[in-house]
């Protein structure tokens, strides 16, 4: 009876004591997390909320901000310039990611042995990474000058005529792609070099004993074991494709005739040239959503086939 009473009374007290303990623990955790949470909220989540809010409102001339539903998204999708920027960004993504990763991988495999000669070559290849993109773009303004620029100067020696690298709408985007590959390949090489260090050498020795050739060793050992690195580099490259437009700003401002306009620069134009904050916010929401989806997808699919252990 007493036990029963005790049990009846005690259970809740124990529970209460336990939950109080958990609460104080939670409180301590919250307290410890608070500084970073405050900053995260103030500088990440709050702006994200604001952008979403902005995407759903419109501010036209002579009237106050009003709710607009999905109107901004409709206007955005109807805008030919947005379509052009999206298409350009896709071409730019394929044109920069595939070659820069391929080159980075080739360079990393080729330069992985730590000889003095290789170290020198690595430095040379890594050099463009040290330049800020703005500075690189300013340099390439003179590399790309038709007729007089460095590129045409050497091409002329090979008998080619002058090319309007940045002024021809068919070529301009490819010029920017070339600059980006030159700039990023060395950076990605660094990740691959690190990834290669983690592959145990005995695997290669075993493969050699089995009579596997260089290509076989690369395809069967190096490539699969570089999976996690590849997935990581791919995500970095995807993010770069959306977030780096310094060269567009310096070299072309999206021209000629929108042929080099990329999403981020389009957003800038809508916000600061057209003062169309609703459309800019809608474009931001769409591109960030697309980027998130792509990153998740690439991490998921690549991870499925990844061997994390050697």
């Amino acid at each position: 009876m007493v036990a029963e009473i005790e049990a009846r009374v005690g259970l809740p007290t124990v529970l209460a004591r336990r939950s109080a303990g958990r609460r104080s623990q939670l409180g301590r955790a919250a307290l410890l997390l608070a500084p970073s949470l405050v900053f995260l909220a103030a500088f990440t989540y709050w702006p994200i909320g604001q952008v979403i809010g902005q995407a759903l409102t419109i501010e036209t001339f002579g009237s106050d901000t009003v709710g607009y539903g999905l109107g901004n998204f409709e206007r955005l999708l109807a805008d030919a310039s947005f379509g052009r920027a999206l298409l350009n960004n896709l071409v730019y993504a394929l044109g920069t990611i595939v070659p820069s990763i391929a080159i980075a991988l080739a360079l990393a495999v080729g330069l992985q042995d730590a000889t003095r000669f290789n170290a020198g070559l690595r430095t040379v290849v890594f050099f463009p990474v040290l330049l800020p993109l703005v500075a690189a773009a300013a340099l390439f303004l003179f590399v790309f000058l038709p007729g007089i620029g460095l590129l045409d100067y050497y091409l002329a020696r090979l008998g080619a005529g002058s090319t309007n690298w940045l002024g021809d709408p068919d070529i301009a985007l490819w010029s920017l792609i070339g600059l980006t590959v030159w700039k990023n390949a060395g950076y990605y090489m660094l990740f691959f070099l690190a990834g290669l260090q983690a592959i145990p050498l005995d695997l290669y020795e075993a493969a050699r004993l089995e009579g596997a050739g260089a290509w076989g060793r690369f395809r069967r050992i190096t490539l699969p074991l570089l999976g996690p690195t590849l997935a990581f580099v791919l995500v970095i490259a995807l993010v770069n494709v959306i977030t780096q437009v310094d060269h567009v700003v310096v070299l072309t401002k999206g021209g000629p005739s929108d042929s080099t306009n990329l999403l981020l620069f389009y957003i800038y134009q809508q916000a600061h040239e057209n003062y169309d904050y609703g459309k800019a916010a809608a474009a931001t929401v769409l591109s960030v959503a697309g980027l998130l989806a792509l990153s998740l997808l690439s991490l998921r699919t690549l991870e499925r086939g990844i061997h994390y252990e050697a």
């Binding site: 036209t60 001339f61 002579g62 303004l141 003179f142 000058l145 038709p146 007729g147 007089i148 005529g161 002058s162 309007n164 940045l166 002024g167 021809d168 709408p169 068919d170 401002k253 999206g254 021209g255 000629p256 005739s257 929108d258 134009q269 600061h272 040239e273 057209n274 003062y275």
Partner: protein, 439 residues
């Protein structure tokens, strides 16, 4: 600091001890863009030091805010944030937007408080500059430094091609003829172009304005910011001339050439004639090795170009002291002496006519006849195009003109597309103004 200063000042005034010696200086900030970095920014600092030394009751700071477009963005952001600068050197064709949006204050009350009429105040500046500064019945800006497009030519190339450098082309017919003679070919490839025009955004719109105006056109409605005249015979003639230069006579590069590439090609002797701003005069004078000359932009129906450059504006919402201090700074910067000094340093012409009456300016003009040509063209200059959402409306045309220069479109269809796009951009303003009718 400034709050304490003004509190102290207020206390001093209420106690009746406000003597001539100010207790503390009024702090003001001025945003300024520099089209050419480095030297000009340094010279602006020198000017501010001089101003502050001459005006102990004011402490003015010049804040470098990047290009014209970036200055526009930063000014707008500062106004939105409720911390407007006391004065801004703003691209002259953006002033209208600030007036449309009600973000700047008219200068008339300040002018009148000085015992001057607005007519007398504006009378100090060249007539061509009035349109972008005084409109809708009020004075909104004070011109600071200005320019017009100018034809620069390589005099050595002229002589070698049998042309007279003392008699540069005046009409479009002479211009085409000269460009043909100056172009050097080797089979199908061009070794030297007779003509290059800057085709990057902003510059291209300005050059097209000059060509259209030279063809009798207006380009935009100077009285109403909701109208541009893109799909018109005057613009069609101008754009067809450009198209012909590139594709019929092949004396100009196919595709867009950036303004920087144009000046580089001119220095390298790869372009014999170029159209660039008078603001580039000092730059070209210092870098051109061959002999060169300058001339008016050639005409078809009349001599006419649009002005460029920047004016001083004053945002709304300043305290009385700051407004007075800002006004003192604006008057000082646009005075004949400072105006002339800045003009000689940069190559822009001085908006204040009085600057050219000063002896040092007379000597300078005598020594640099090219500066005189720029000045002479001023009497044919007109207002710079300014509309609701100027940059986007300008880009609507530039994208299409670029397509024509690259051989992707024909002039007539390009202009129809440009007009449609521009009308679309200006619609919100037009609906609130010209199409806002009584029920």
């Amino acid at each position: 600091m400034s709050r304490i200063a003004s509190a102290a000042l207020a206390a001093a005034l209420t106690l009746g001890i406000g003597s001539g010696a100010a207790l503390a200086a009024t702090d003001i900030e001025m945003f300024f863009p520099v089209p050419v970095e480095g030297k000009l920014a340094k010279e602006m600092k020198n000017l501010m030091d001089r101003f502050n030394a001459e005006h102990p009751d004011i402490k003015a700071t010049a804040v470098y805010t990047g290009s014209y477009d970036e200055t526009n963005i930063k000014t707008r952001a500062a106004i939105k944030a409720g911390r407007p600068p006391a004065a801004v050197i703003m691209s002259a064709n953006f002033v209208l937007e600030y007036q449309i949006n009600g973000e700047i204050q008219p200068l008339d009350p300040l002018i009148q408080a000085d015992g001057q009429t607005p007519d007398a105040f504006m009378g100090k500046f060249w007539p061509a500059l009035h349109g972008n500064a005084r409109f809708a019945g009020k004075v909104w800006a004070a011109p600071f430094h200005n320019s017009t497009p100018l034809l620069y030519f390589n005099a050595d190339h002229f002589k070698a091609a049998g042309l007279d450098p003392n008699n540069p082309p005046k009409t479009w017919a002479e211009w085409v003829d000269a460009a043909k003679k100056l172009t050097v070919r080797d089979g199908d490839t061009v070794k030297r172009y007779g003509l290059m025009l800057p085709g990057n955004y902003d510059y291209l719109g300005w050059v097209m304005t000059a060509l259209t105006m030279s063809n009798g056109g207006l380009y935009y409605n100077p009285e109403f910011g909701g109208e541009v005249f893109y799909d018109t015979p005057s613009m069609l003639g101008a754009l067809t001339l450009v198209d012909n230069m590139a594709h019929k006579y092949k004396v100009m590069p196919d595709g867009v050439t950036d303004g920087k590439a144009v000046s580089t090609a001119f220095f390298a002797g790869q372009a014999s004639m170029v159209v660039l701003s008078t603001g580039s005069l000092s730059f070209i004078r210092q870098n051109m090795k061959d002999n060169y000359g300058v001339a008016f932009v050639p005409r078809n129906l009349r001599n006419a170009v649009a002005i460029g450059g920047a004016s001083l504006i004053m945002p709304k919402g300043l305290s009385d002291e700051r407004r007075q201090a800002s006004w003192t700074l604006i008057k000082w910067l646009t005075s004949p002496e400072i105006s002339g000094h800045w003009s000689r340093f940069t190559g822009y012409f001085a908006p204040n006519k009085g600057a050219y009456e000063l002896p040092e300016m007379k000597t300078f003009i005598a020594e640099n006849p090219d500066a005189k040509v720029a000045l002479d063209q001023l009497q044919y200059a007109q207002s710079w195009f300014a509309t609701y959402n100027t940059v986007a409306v300008r880009k609507a045309l530039e994208d299409e003109v670029q397509a024509v220069i690259a051989g992707k479109k024909k002039p007539a269809e390009a202009l129809k597309a440009a007009q449609a796009k521009a009308d679309d951009i200006m619609r919100p303003y037009v609906e609130q103004t010209a199409l806002n009718l009584p029920n």
